[in-house]
Structures are given as C-alpha cells and as structure tokens.
C-alpha cells in the first residue's frame, strides 16, 4: 500500500489543528483579558517559540518514532481539545489565570512542534529530501490557511470557542488512532493499548462536546458578550469590567451593576430625589454600598456637602473604582475628593458597631437581595440600625430592584421600610440596561412628595417633568392588591425568597 498521500493528509490535519489552538488561545485571552493586540502578539510569540522547542526536542526521540508520534497526537488531542473549556474554567475560578494560559499555550506549541519533524522522519524513507520538504511544508501552510479561514467564518460563530477546541481535539485523536493502522508496520509496542487510549480520549472529548453548554455555563463564556477588560476575584465577589459597543459595564458575581451608556439615569434617579426632599442644606452624607463611586459622583455635585462616608464591603471594588482609568473617569475621580472617606465593611455590621454623628442624607445602593447575606441589608433590623444614624429630618434613598420584574420584592422592601418607622415615597424610572427600576425615598417624619429639584446642579437625565412623573406607578408595577406581602425580617428573610421566585422566571 502506498501510504504516503495519506500521511500528507495527516500533515494537513495536524497543521489545521495546530493553528486552531493558537487562534483559540489568542481569541480567548483577548476576550477575557482585553487588549487583543498584546494578547495575540504574546500568544503567537509563545506558541511559535514553543514549536521551536518541540522541534529541537524531537532529536532526542530516537527509537519507536511511530509510537511516539501516535502518543503525541493523543497528547495534543487532550491538551488542545480541552484547552478552551479548561481556560474558561481557570479564568472563572483561579486568580493566576495567565500562568495557566501561557502554560497551556506553551504545552500545545511544544507538542505541535514535535509532530512535523517526527512525521518527516517517518516519511524520509519513502521520499527524497527535496520532495519531502517541499510537500510537507506546502501541506502545513495549506492547513494553516484553511484553519484561519474556517475559524472566524464558521467555527466561532457556529460552534463557539469551547466546542471548536473539543472538535479539533477529536480530529487530533482521530489522526493518532488512524496512525496506529497507517504506521502499523513501524509499531513495535502494544498497538492495542494505544488504540484503547485513543478511543477513550475521543470518547471523553465527545462527551465534553455534547455537554459543552453546561461546561461553559459553569464558566462565564455565555455570560459576557463584550470584551472583558478587567476581572478579579476578591474574597467577597467576582468583579468583572467589560467593554462593548455601548460602553463599559461592571458585573459583580455575574450580575450587571451598571452600563456606562445609561448609568447616569440610574444614579441621578437614586441620588437627587433624596436631596430634593431635604429642607436644610445637606452637609453629612452616608453612602452604603455603591463602591463604583457613581452615586458618589452625583452626591459631590452639591456644594453644601462637607463630608461623605462611603461604606462598601469590598476593598478591591473601591480600589478599582479609584484606580482603573475607565471607572475613575466615569465617577469623575470621586475617590480623590477630599470630602470622601471610605470604610470597607459590611454595612450591617458597621451600622451596628459604629457610633458617629448622624447624617443628613443616606444613599443605599446595594446589589439586589439574591442571597441571605444581601437580604439582611433590606430587613427591618437594618433600617432600624440606619435610623439610629439619621436626624429627624434626614432623607434616605434606596435602590429597591425592579417593580416590574420583581413586583412583590419591590413592595416588600417598601413595606419593610414602613414597618421600621419610615415614611416612604416609592418611585421608579427606566434604565434601558435594567428595565423599569425601582427606588424608595424615605424620611423619619411624614413628608410631601418633593416636586422641585435643587437648582444649579448639572443633570443629564432628570428634569422637573421626569422628576414628578417618577412617583407615578403604572398598573403593572403598583402595589399588588390581592397578594399578601410579608415584612422582611432577619428571622424570616422573606425578601430573598420572593426575589428568587420572581427572578427565576427569567432565567
């Protein structure tokens, strides 16, 4: 049998696979780490260098070349095939992601670098050198062209990164298994063992291919459609900043916190009504949560403000808001303002343990109550603790999730505030990134819904008409008449259960 043409087909497949892994790593790293020029350049450099290392290492393989070739194919199948899911996973779970990334790239590059020299040595007995070099390299480069065309046009859009990598892993494994037949005369060792290994690897890759959706949902693949420009796991949460067509966005544990293109709507609606509800000039301001500094930016627009205390759980978050240029620009360097002091603590524990002069305004901007640790920040106990840090005529504004999507949750928070002795004016507005969004304006004494915003404060969204209309609720967002809504207490955490039930419908 003349096996030479078939071996050239091998060269072609190997070359295609090799380039695919390189493209995958480059895409994936620029996708999760941002800065695609640097990432691609680094990945290509490391990959090519590793191939060089592989080629050089091939000289140390002296015997059993055919077996070694098959084994290397299987190793590439495993490492390359699982590379994308592995990297997603590493990105989601590990803080030293780049070590894993470059390690994997180097590993695949080295193995791929071994392939062609070995194949050439296998083929050298069948062809003269001139022919061999010209044909092998030609097929190698054709494979590269095919890969680079397939990758953006078909593979990424149709299969996604994880499946692409698994598919090519299977191809590599197939080349290895096929090699056990093709190169049978050259194989001295136990050929069946090699075949069994090969089929197990194909099997595993196939299972992973079928389950790829599950694998990537474990990671964050499906979550972010935009480039990730910053990602870090703090002891409290996973912080991710993305950059997309509409602007920058912040995610905490996968939940969108803001998108730069419409965040001003949210933060103006959160902050200015509380100031409008005051009779006196606000001097001392408390911001609970809001580590992104965007509410802070709005607060600092008031010249009468003398000091702002911001209490946010996560030092990583406040540090990032201060130091990451895109965030610092968005919050107008709020953290550099000398009026601002930052405390990193759980607001619940801080309010309970801290004695401090009362505040004129409190802005409460926590993530939605999707777990018990957050749910406690919406309880009667919490509002009672807050009360102890207010003056009789202070004003409080609270973000209170969507009255459309989580209607019961929204009204549960309002009722809880009332149960804690606050007089409450519920209000809502539209923030395209979130939908219809709800807030609560509360004071310790009964008060009229404010109608006038403070003058001479720059605002992009709120004007007199929108301000007044925010306090109107449509039929589908108003207090449900026929349902009993419990008050959220530490010892029932009803809100977390409402919230989970209501948002689950949208998952």
């Amino acid at each position: 049998m003349n096996r030479t043409p078939l071996l050239f087909l091998n060269v072609f497949i190997i070359a295609t696979c090799g380039l695919i892994y390189e493209l995958l790593a480059g895409t994936l790293s620029s996708y999760v780490l941002g800065d695609s020029v640097t990432q691609f350049s680094l990945i290509i450099g490391i990959y090519l260098f590793a191939m060089g290392v592989g080629s050089w290492l091939s000289r140390f393989i002296e015997k059993h070349i055919a077996e070694k070739f098959v084994e290397i194919e299987l190793a590439v199948a495993v490492l390359g095939g699982f590379s994308a899911p592995l990297l997603f996973f590493a990105f989601a779970k590990l803080s030293y992601f780049s070590v894993v990334l470059y390690g994997v790239v180097f590993g695949i590059g080295t193995l791929v670098g071994l392939e062609i020299p070995l194949l050439m040595r296998i083929l050298k007995d069948e062809l003269d050198f001139k022919d061999l070099v010209s044909r092998v390299l030609a097929f190698d480069y054709i494979g590269a062209l095919v890969a680079s065309l397939l990758f953006p046009l078909f593979l990424v859009p149709k299969l996604g990164l994880a499946r692409t990598s698994l598919l090519f892993g299977m191809l590599n494994a197939a080349v290895g298994i096929w090699g056990t037949w093709l190169l049978l005369p050259l194989i001295k060792k136990n050929v069946n063992l090699l075949r069994v290994q090969g089929f197990i690897i194909i099997g595993l890759l196939l299972i992973a291919f079928i389950k790829a959706d599950y694998l990537t949902s474990l990671a964050e693949d499906a979550l972010f459609t935009d480039n990730i420009i910053y990602a870090k796991s703090s002891p409290y949460q996973r912080i991710i900043v993305t950059k997309g067509k509409t602007g920058y966005a912040l995610f905490l544990n996968g939940n969108l916190q803001f998108n730069s293109f419409d965040e001003y709507r949210y933060h103006e609606a959160l902050v200015h009504p509380a100031f409008a509800a005051l009779n006196a000039n606000p001097k001392r301001i408390l911001v609970l949560g809001g580590g992104d500094g965007l509410a802070l930016r709005e607060v600092l627009k008031y010249p009468s403000v003398e000091s702002v205390m911001l209490v946010d759980l996560d030092p990583e978050m406040t540090r990032l808001s201060k130091n990451l240029p895109v965030l610092a620009e968005l919050n107008k360097n709020a953290f550099e303002d000398s009026r601002v002091s930052v405390v990193n603590a759980d607001a619940f524990v801080w309010l309970d343990n801290t004695e401090i002069a009362p505040f004129d305004v409190a802005i409460v901007d926590f993530p939605d109550p999707n777990n018990f640790a957050l749910g406690k920040l919406y309880t009667t106990r919490f509002y009672n603790l807050l009360k102890a840090h207010l003056k009789p005529d202070s004003a409080v504004a609270i973000q209170t999730t969507s009255p459309l999507i989580a209607r019961k949750s929204y009204w549960c928070i309002i009722k809880t505030l009332e149960a804690a002795g606050f007089s409450v004016k519920p209000y809502q507005t539209t923030v395209p990134s979130f939908g219809i969004w709800g807030f609560a304006l509360a004071k310790l004494e009964p008060f009229e819904t404010p109608k006038k915003l403070s003058e001479n404060i720059e605002r992009k969204f709120l004007n007199e008409q929108t301000f007044v209309s925010m306090f109107d609720f449509s039929a589908d967002t108003s207090l449900p008449k026929d349902e009993e809504i419990e008050i959220n207490r530490l010892d029932n955490q009803s809100l977390v259960r409402y919230y989970e039930a209501e948002w689950r419908r949208f998952e």
């Binding site: 002891p235 409290y236 759980l313 759980d346 619940f348 524990v349 309970d352 777990n371 018990f372 640790a373 749910g375 406690k376 309880t379 009667t380 106990r381 009672n384 207490r489 530490l490 010892d491 029932n492 955490q493 977390v496």
Partner: protein, 540 residues
C-alpha cells in the same frame, strides 16, 4: 490503654467513615488549642477533703447558701435580689460561672460552650418573660398577648441546613429525594404532634408544656414514658428512613440519646412543647453569638457580689440549728464554713450523695435514678469560612448538620451578628450516646479529639484543616440528664423535688430534661419555697 487512629475514628464516626478518613491526612500541627474548663477531678477533691476541719474563724452566718452557679443557681440568686432578699451567697466550683450554659469569648466574638438557644416562651410563662423584659429583649406583645422578641435576638434565617451525600440542603428534614411515602409519613408525624398539641386533660392541662411541672400527669400521656421513642414510632407505623433520622437527630440534639434510648414521652415533648396551637410553627429561637452565655452573664452581673467562684462545696451537714456547709477555695486551698438556715442545692442531683452527709451514709433510692450522659463541645476558630463546593449548595446557616455523621454538626457564632464574611467561630457538638461514653471521652487527648472533629467536618468542608487556626474542647462528663424510658414519670423526680431537712433542690435534673426553662423554673421555685417560710425583706 491507647487506641489507634482508626479505632478512635471508628468509635466516634463509624467504620465506613473511619476507613475513608484514615486515608486522608491527620495533620493538626499548624492548629493551636487546648482542653478547657470543667474540672474532671472534683471526685478527687471531695475524697481528699473528707472530714476536714474548718478553722474556727473561717465560719460565717448566712440565711441561705446556693450551691452551684448554673442557670438554676443563678436564677435563684437573681430572684432573691429582685425580692430584696440579700442574706445569701452562691458557691460555684469552676472559675467561670454558668455551668453547662457558659460561654467563651475572644477579641472577635463570643461563642457557647454548651446551651445556645431558648425558644420564645408562651405568654403563661410570666416569670421567664419578666427576665426577658429585664434584659430588654422584648418589644411589646402581640394582639393575643404573646410576647414579641426583638428581631435581632431571634435566630436569623437561614436557620438550618443539612449535608447529605456531598451537598448542602435547606432545613433539617431532608426534603431532597423524599418519596411520596416519606412525605406522607412526615405529614402523619405532624398529625400526631398536632393531636398532642390540642390534647387537654380533664383539668384543661396540656400534655406537653414548659415548664414540665405544668404538664398533665394523666395516664394517657404519662404512659408514653413506658416505651422508647423508637418503639412508639414503630407502633405508629413509621418506617421512612429520613423521618427516623430526623427523630433520632432530635433526641441526640436535645437529650444526647439515640431514639432507642429515649422515652417516647420525651421524644414527643421535643416536638409538642414548643408549638402554641394546632398547625402553628414551633416557637422561634432566641439566640446570641455566645448562646445562653448571654443569660448567664446577665444574671451573674446582677448578683456578682454574692457569687464565689472556685468555691467547691465539700460537705453539707444538716443539724438542729440549720445547715453547715464546708467549702474549699480551690485557688487559696482554704477551707471555709457557712452556718446557714437553708441551702439551695443547684448542683447536679447525683452529686448529692457525695455532699449531703445523710445521703452519704444512706443514699435514697431515687438519687441513682438520675443518670447523665457525656458530651464534648469543640470551638473551632477559623480564619475564613469554608467555601461551598457547588454554586447551588445551600449557604452557611446558623445550625449546620451532617446527615451521615454521629456528631450534631456545628453552630456558627457569627451568624446572629450578621457577620457573613471572613473570620468565624464554629461550635461543634458531639453527644456520647453510647454506654461507656464518659470513660472513652476522658481517655482522649487534644490531638485525638481534634482529629475526630476535623475528619468529620472535612467530609463536608475539604478546606477545614487549612482554615482552622485553633480548636478548644470542653468535655462534659455529666452534660445532661438522660430522659430514658421509665424515668420522667417513675416518681423519682417528685421525691427529689421535696426539700430534705432545709435543703431545697433546684437543678434542672429535677425535670428529667436539660433545658434552660426547667433550670430557671426550679431556681425560682426554691426561692418561693424559702421566702414563703421567710417573708421577703426580713433578710439583712
């Protein structure tokens, strides 16, 4: 006798468990800790000081001496002070007050060494409510007159979770994978509970209520004491594995006994005594980071000048004029004496035979009916809390139970404070339900105890060894009275509750069930017995 690691783990955690744990590491070298508290050598001291003479000028005259500074003794002292009766002292042998309700504290948070919660009392328990009022734990009353407790003192949700086959689930009853039949039986158990909650005797008394002194003594209820809870469940046709587990857990948790050792009366008492009315939820728990140590410290503060710590009563000698008490200050090794008119005996009942002279010579039969079981409690000081392995795992709760373990799991001290991140203290409970448990417990050193706890917990928390900085242990040789079959209603309690020659007994043992409410009740009862004979205000 020394045991191998496998023998110890098998004895405490069971064989399959020990086999897998033995393969894992047993490294504790980076962990600090000690065995604290509860003097084990009291017996020794008592023997040593038999018939010692009190130097003549070490005698003092007092109306009342209280022996024992647990909840019973402290409640009695508190009540005396409230009644303006001040001619008494309280002797406590340990250097810390509180008995089995005592607590510890580090620079971060308090944590219990024993008792850790009190269910909200019914409105009828006015004495207990007056304590809660005085402690400023209450905020008025509901429409039907039930007491309302401030939110921050009621156990914060989530209250319980259970670890089963690698995952954490909400609640104590294992709902995941429960069959129709399992749920039917659960429902049936609830119906049985409901029956007893509604049941009243001819005088209108409830079958099960706190304090036990107010329970009906009608034979229809007390006959339940003649069989074990295991037999009762069998008779009623309960077979569901998870239901049996649930009932067994209840017995182990509240009494330190297994189902087969517990009286059916006591088993049902657990389920029925805290349910106000048919269909209602069980009363909520009042709790604090330091558990019932909060009550201990409050009561102690009110009577600090009356308490003498490190003061072990050695002998109580009733005579014509009154009662002589000799006691030893374990710090100074000084023997002192009190000529008292009355004694409140708030130490465990079994110790009466070593202390009261008449009992030494001629121990009444009922004394040996009071049997105790042993427990150990570990406080684990963690630099961070263990991570859940699965995103869908139910989060850390107040009480965290391991379905497949012989331990009771652990309570998280930071929970009630709303501290949800970073440092934590876990209080781990292990009842020694088996015979010979006490001897076994005292044969183990710190290393071996630590290995048991860490091996057990690492089934649920792979990272527990790395997170633990320190483990302290308390060994309770006589932790709780055992409400075994045929004890609570066999007449012994009644006999023991009668004063003996001006000695009034107050320990919670008298109830047959170790609960705060019972200790408190008996403490106050002895005070009224004494003050009726000796009207308040007549003290100096």
């Amino acid at each position: 006798m020394k045991f191998t690691r496998r023998e110890i783990l098998t004895a405490f955690l069971g064989l399959p468990f020990a086999l897998s744990a033995c393969k894992s590491n047993s490294e504790t070298s980076s962990i600090d800790g000690e065995i604290v508290g509860a003097s084990a050598n009291i017996g020794h001291i008592l023997r040593e000081n038999r018939n010692v003479e009190v130097p003549a000028n070490n005698w003092e005259n007092l109306k009342v001496a209280i022996i024992g500074g647990g909840i019973a003794g402290l409640s009695a002292a508190w009540k005396f002070t409230r009644e303006n009766f001040n001619d008494f002292v309280l002797l406590e042998l340990e250097s810390a007050i509180g008995g089995t309700a005592r607590s510890g504290k580090n620079n971060f948070i308090g944590y219990p060494w024993g008792a850790h919660y009190l269910p909200v009392p019914f409105k009828e328990n006015t004495e207990l409510i007056s304590l809660l009022d005085e402690m400023n734990l209450t905020e008025g009353k509901s429409q039907n007159g039930e007491i309302l407790i401030k939110e921050q003192f009621l156990c914060r949700e989530p209250e319980e979770r259970v670890f089963y086959k690698g995952r954490w689930y909400e609640g104590l009853y294992l709902r995941v994978g429960a069959s129709q039949e399992d749920l039917r039986q659960l429902n049936e158990l609830n119906k049985q509970v409901d029956f007893w909650v509604n049941w009243r005797d001819t005088r209108g008394k409830r079958a099960f209520v706190l304090p036990i002194a107010n329970c009906s003594n009608d034979a229809e209820v007390t006959d339940l004491d003649k069989i074990t809870f295991a037999d009762w469940l069998k008779q009623k046709g309960f077979t569901s594995e998870r239901l049996i587990w649930y009932c067994n857990y209840a017995c182990r948790d509240d009494y330190g006994l297994r189902l087969e050792q517990t009286s059916a009366w006591a088993g049902l008492f657990y389920f029925c005594s805290r349910v106000r009315k048919s269909g209602a939820e069980s009363q909520s728990f009042i709790t604090f980071p330091e558990g019932n140590g909060k009550f201990v410290n409050f009561l102690h503060n009110k009577v600090k000048d009356k308490t003498r710590l490190k003061s072990i009563a050695i002998e109580i000698i009733p005579n014509e004029k009154g009662i002589d008490i000799t006691y030893l200050n374990t710090e100074t090794n000084e023997i002192r004496g009190i000529h008292a008119e009355k004694v409140i005996f708030a130490a465990p009942i079994f110790t009466a035979k070593y202390l009261i002279r008449d009992f030494k010579q001629n121990t009444p039969d009922f004394v040996k009916e009071f049997e105790h079981n042993a427990w150990f409690v570990a406080n684990l000081f963690l630099k961070d809390r263990p991570k859940n392995q699965f995103a869908k795992d139910f989060p850390l709760a107040w009480d965290n139970v391991l379905y497949e373990s012989n331990s009771l799991g652990y309570v998280n001290a930071t929970h009630q404070k709303g501290i949800d991140y970073g440092q934590a203290v876990f209080t781990y409970y292990f009842p020694m339900a088996e015979k010979g448990g006490r001897a076994k417990l005292f044969s183990l050193d710190w290393q071996e105890l630590a290995d048991i706890v860490l091996s057990d917990l690492s089934m649920a928390h792979k990272d527990i060894r790395a997170l633990t900085e320190r483990i302290d242990f308390m060994r309770w040789g006589h932790a709780m009275i055992s409400p075994r079959r045929n004890f609570i209603w066999n007449g012994s309690r009644e006999k023991a509750t009668k004063p003996f020659r001006n000695i009034h007994f107050a320990h919670s043992d008298l109830s047959g069930i170790a609960l705060f409410e019972e200790a408190f009740f008996h403490g106050l009862r002895t005070v009224s017995e004494i003050l009726i004979a000796e009207p308040a205000g007549s003290g100096r």
